[in-house]
Amino acid sequence: MSKALGFLLARSLRNRARLTLRRLRRPSHALAVLAGIAYLAVVFGSGSSARGAAPVPGIALPVGALGLAVLVAWGWVAADAGRVLAFSPAEVAWLFPAPLTRRQLLHLKLARAQGVVLLNALLWTALTWRPGLGAAPWRRALAIWALLSVLALHRTAAALLRKGATSTGRAGLRRILPLAGLVLFAFALLAGLGGVAGGNVAAVAGPFAVLAEVLARPPFAALLWPFTLPLRPLFAGDPAAWLAAMGPVVLLLGAHYLWIVRADRAFEEAVAAHALDQLAQAPRGQSARPLPARGARAPLLPLAAARSPAAAIAWRHLASVTRRRGALLALGAWLLLIVAIAQAPAFTDLPVGETASGFALAWLALLAIVGPQLVRNDLREDLAHLSLLRVLPLRGRTIVGASAAASALVLAAGYLALAGVAAVGGARASLGLPALPAALYLLLAAPAALALALLQALVQNGGAILFPAWVRPARAGGGTAVLGTNLLTGVVSLALVAGLLLPVGLGVGAAWAGVTLAGGGAAPALCLAEAAGVLVALGEARLLAGWLGRRFERLEPGDVDPG
């Protein structure tokens, strides 16, 4: 790498560290950092003090290799190649016209990636370290670093090849081949699992043991062998075995490095075009965010000219969700995973429906806790454009309400999808609910899910409006401060939502008690309780949107980005 690029990396790192230290003087930032460190200490502490049994290499190695193979296949099939290769707008503007070779630019890219790899290696070493577990900590750290480096290099190489294929018109073929291979592998694996399960389920201890037994058979053992190589040093017990296992990994690293530096000429053009596309869409003074895949798909609903301004705002936020291929793919993959696990008899001796129902309820609970922070297609992604929002001829409550409604709709759809799986799987009985038709429960669930999601979204948007610099809306980033901020925001939000649900609960209880005391059946009681709860929640949402709207009208761009 050239001295100039070394200067760029070193000075950027130094100034970033100085800025971080300066920010620590701000109490809110210091609090966030402290919360983040406390969280990590709890996680690391519990990880290092755990005395659970170490994973058995005979099981962990093939299962880990399968996981690695899936990650690699994902890089070829679905990952955004442009994002992997992306240079920042400043890098394109300053470095591409400069007398630098393509190889020097690639080295800059690889050096930057190493920063992330090193940080992750340290984190995973701390998270996975336990006394008596495989290699010593320093050998383990090196092994994790090598594994992550191979993965990072492979992702870059795959992205280069895919970009090159795009420019030569062979992109379709290069994406279809790994996808077809993955599907064939999955079918063969399911058939193998079925065979083992049909044979002697009781003889094997647990689902991972079943999976490992299948993966040890041909052809899986041969297919997964290359993926076991970077994992072997993790399970090497003594220095000699570790050294022997590291040899092939070093060779893999070298081969990937050569693959990348000899990548075809399409590299510069592809990354420059990608970065230029990004900076053409990025607001001034902000980092460019990745664009959706080429050929943005049409939104789910057309926007009629006669619709109200509030509908237009909600529509815009919903359209942004439907154009995020990665999020939709991830959601689909999770749902498929739940169904697949529930249907695989080798994984459990419980009835399929009960298993699916249990998984769905667990995910429903998790979504209710972390979902509002993750689903951000509302004011949080728009506050960076506050100046534009403020010139709209709309009242604050309209903007706040419509924005929150957009993310509430997405959240509610998630709740309903999981509730649907749970209902079909027979969750009613396990929850001790009255014996009513599953369809009635689903019908009642829709308004309840929407009302709950609306309250949650309003609380999240309220945080962004009341503490804009603290919540840092629409900002990508990482680090302990962001971790701590998210943690504190999540806890406070949960407490606030719980407070808002108290009157809702009172309404529900009063309606239920009224009907049952009057001698009504379970169905009318449930319907009336539902109606009372939703009405109370909507009333609260209206009041909250009005109050937040007035606060929004007093918000200024400087409050959002104090610089």
Binding site: A4, L13, N15, A93, P97, A98, G285, G563
Partner: protein, 249 residues
Amino acid sequence: MQQELIEVDGLSKVFDGRVAVRALSFTVRAGEVVGLVGPNGAGKTTTLRTLAGILAPTAGRVQVAGHDLAAAPLEAKRRLAFVPDEPHLFDYLTSAEHLELSGRLYGVPDAAARAARLLAEFGLADRRDALPAELSRGMRQKLVIAAALVHEPDALLLDEPLTGLDPVAIRRMKETIRGWADAGHAVLLSSHLLHVVEELCDRVVVLRAGERIAMGTIAEIVAGRPGLAGRSLEDVFLALVDDPAPGAA
């Protein structure tokens, strides 16, 4: 006859089947300021980015100070500087470090001294330790232009260089551009400010839909269209871009 420092011959650029620039040819000589004008989407920025080596041409040849941009990219790039339409800076480099980086990228031995001089010349001396987030849009623009001059390039490519500058800075920038050309360098600039183009440029290249529809001094362009005699560049420009059947000059 002055040396031709920028030579563009049959340059074409195609994006996904869409022609952005078609068979464009022109030259910029030492001591000359040439303006690239045209309506939005005419291909001005694509032309400048291709000349800067950010984009690879689909066809055609670009030479900078006698060096072919495709065959000897490093030699060609050492002799040019590009100022993009948006002043993108590195988030964690100070103003002075940006200029120092520029000096290092182009192998300037006394980069620090030149950086200090340029910071003073562009009114940024008191902001030398400021990060980009602490600079206004105009200051960022000045910094990018200053960085382009650190290695004293033979050819200077400017994409909308006056956007975001205050009147004082615009006046100073016009003097800098003119002075740079008068010192024997070549300047190619694109701008929508036609009065600036008229004031600064020795010749103009008019683009429409990626094609050159006119080239030369304003007098030469008007000479081919007697109806436009005595009119301003704005009138000439509007007449040219509205012309349904343009004839290449």
